[in-house]
Subunit: 340 residues, 2 copies
């Protein structure tokens, strides 16, 4: 099959082509296109005419090399297939393009450990790095701090708040979950946890426990999870299959809550009659009629907008005060805590 003409790669016209056609050095062409550079007016005029004729336009990347900025922003997601990460990526991508910054996607390998791979990410010529839902370790924070360019954590926070962080109010969300369950008459609370290196899980748990204590409740029972559906099923069997069953469970994310609800259904435990369940994230499946899960919703529009604003400031000013921005979570009240 011969290549159709349409698919042939059309070579880009470069400053070099313009320079050759004009019989000048390439650096003269660069200066001609850079406002404020010293070039004789007649030379600039002649070069602009030749450039127009050849179809040459100096591109953003070329400008980047002159200014020392590429305007590329590296975005690293560990789990792009988590619904929240991918929605954030969408909002962030759109926002960056709107301020003439370019989102370079730097995914990790599925089993990749960010702290091990971060040095590889630093070799890309990006002006800043955004880490979405990263596993936080002291080694990671140290490496990012030493890099010397801005690093922004989304939905995570560095110990001692040593890196920019923009995130949902996980602590406040955890408190709302406990208050909501107690208002509905819950008497025996439990919490299904997430990965140990997820700083948002710790905050959700702390807020949940603080509100329980403030209401005079004993500390909720804790069962470990890892954010994935099967761990929610295991937590469900542990909490619901034996004696001392709680009447209200707060899961650190929605996916685990759905697993726990499927166990309850299998055991004939009525939701919310016998058991109330609250999740965190508001993924699409939480609203499915088969679940109708009460949960805490992120305001990803605001998280993305704040990130874009910070990156634009950094481009303009070269530096910024350490940003530590917390965006409220909203309780979405559905049937898993509400008998209709």
């Amino acid at each position: 099959m011969s290549p159709p003409k349409d698919h042939r790669f059309r070579r880009r016209v470069t400053a070099w082509d313009v320079a050759r056609a004009a019989g000048v050095n390439q650096s003269v062409v660069s200066r001609a296109f850079n406002a404020g550079s010293r070039v004789a007016p007649e030379t600039r005029e002649r070069l602009l005419a030749i450039a127009k004729e050849l179809g040459y336009a100096p591109n953003a990347l070329a400008r980047g090399l002159l200014t020392g900025r590429t305007r590329l922003i590296g975005i690293t997601t560990v789990q792009i297939n988590s619904e929240i990460s991918s929605r954030l990526l969408q909002n962030l991508g759109l926002g960056l393009l709107s301020v003439d910054l370019h989102p370079l996607l730097l995914p990790l390998s599925p089993q990749g450990v960010l702290a091990d791979e971060i040095h590889r990410l630093f070799t890309f010529d990006v002006d800043a790095l955004v880490l979405v839902s990263a596993a936080i370790s002291p080694a990671l924070v140290e490496a990012c701090t030493a890099w010397g360019r801005p690093v922004i954590l989304l939905n995570r926070v560095a110990p001692g708040h040593r890196l920019h962080s923009i995130r949902t109010d996980d602590y406040g969300g955890g408190r709302l979950a406990a208050q909501h369950l107690l208002e509905r008459g819950a008497q025996s609370l439990a919490f299904v946890s997430g990965p140990a290196d997820a700083t948002n899980v710790q905050a959700r748990r702390d807020g949940f426990f603080a509100a329980a204590e403030a209401a005079g409740q004993p500390p909720p029972r804790i069962v470990a999870g890892d954010f994935a559906y099967p761990s929610g099923v295991v937590a469900g069997r542990t909490l619901l299959g034996g004696p001392g069953r709680p009447d209200a469970v707060f899961c650190a994310n929605d996916v685990m809550a759905l697993g726990l609800m499927d166990v309850a259904r299998e055991l004939g435990i009525r939701i919310p009659g016998d058991l109330q369940v609250v999740g965190f994230d508001d993924i699409t499946a939480a609203s499915f009629a088969g679940y109708s899960l009460t949960t805490l919703r992120h305001d990803l529009d605001i998280v993305a907008a704040e990130t874009v604003a910070l990156l634009a400031d950094l481009q303009r000013d070269g530096e910024a005060s350490l940003v530590d921005r917390v965006v409220s979570a909203r309780l979405i009240d559905r049937r898993s805590t509400h008998d209709l």
Copy 2:
């Protein structure tokens, strides 16, 4: 709050800095770092020493400007929050980085129409464009063809196969769905459709109908959907709520199948006893115990690997024969078609 030192932007060392320190023209520095360029050996040696001292390394973007290639690949997703698109993005991103190509994320606005926005995407300085699950229209195909750089459609195909296309075998998947249902004793088939501009939906339907006809069945009943959960609920009410209820439904994607299954549960229709259901995609929720949906799985590893290989070929050769690659779908047999 004063800016901590760690967050100050460290200005990148450029060829210009090296040139100034060496007292030569910037173009000499470029040549020194470009194998095969004419530079006196002693000059090259001196420049390399100065570059090393200043911490200058010619970056990929700089090389791109010399070669007329940026090695940036634009990736456009319409619905990044669809699980299949985001998984594909992850695989694709990793694959591109492994061959030193850089994935530039170019998302569309949520209500964006690709055919309207495509000209804006062409202004980014990318070597090629990958469109993930794009809505295909004649205007889009025409614009992409006229652009003059390679465009690759993932999971879609252009009429007359005028653009590179790498996709799941939707037709074969549709056939497998019908064969599987008929083997399980289905006697009355129905199909829940998707968006009209999704070429994969048409292929799924055609395969499903062809296999039904080959087995001597009358044409399955069709109900319209739009890929979203609520449209699956509406399709469920239409198909299951009245007379002439089918005993087997193939939905053009999983999310709609889950909506239809929730309606069946509400109506007390037993799955798979009274009704068998097959979806397409194998999203995470399809495997949840509450659904256990039989479905067709994409091989996204192969789709991504083929895309990366094609892009690498295009970088090397500048052109390629029109690629039209179809990757088999695999039937994942679960309880929605299988009484345990």
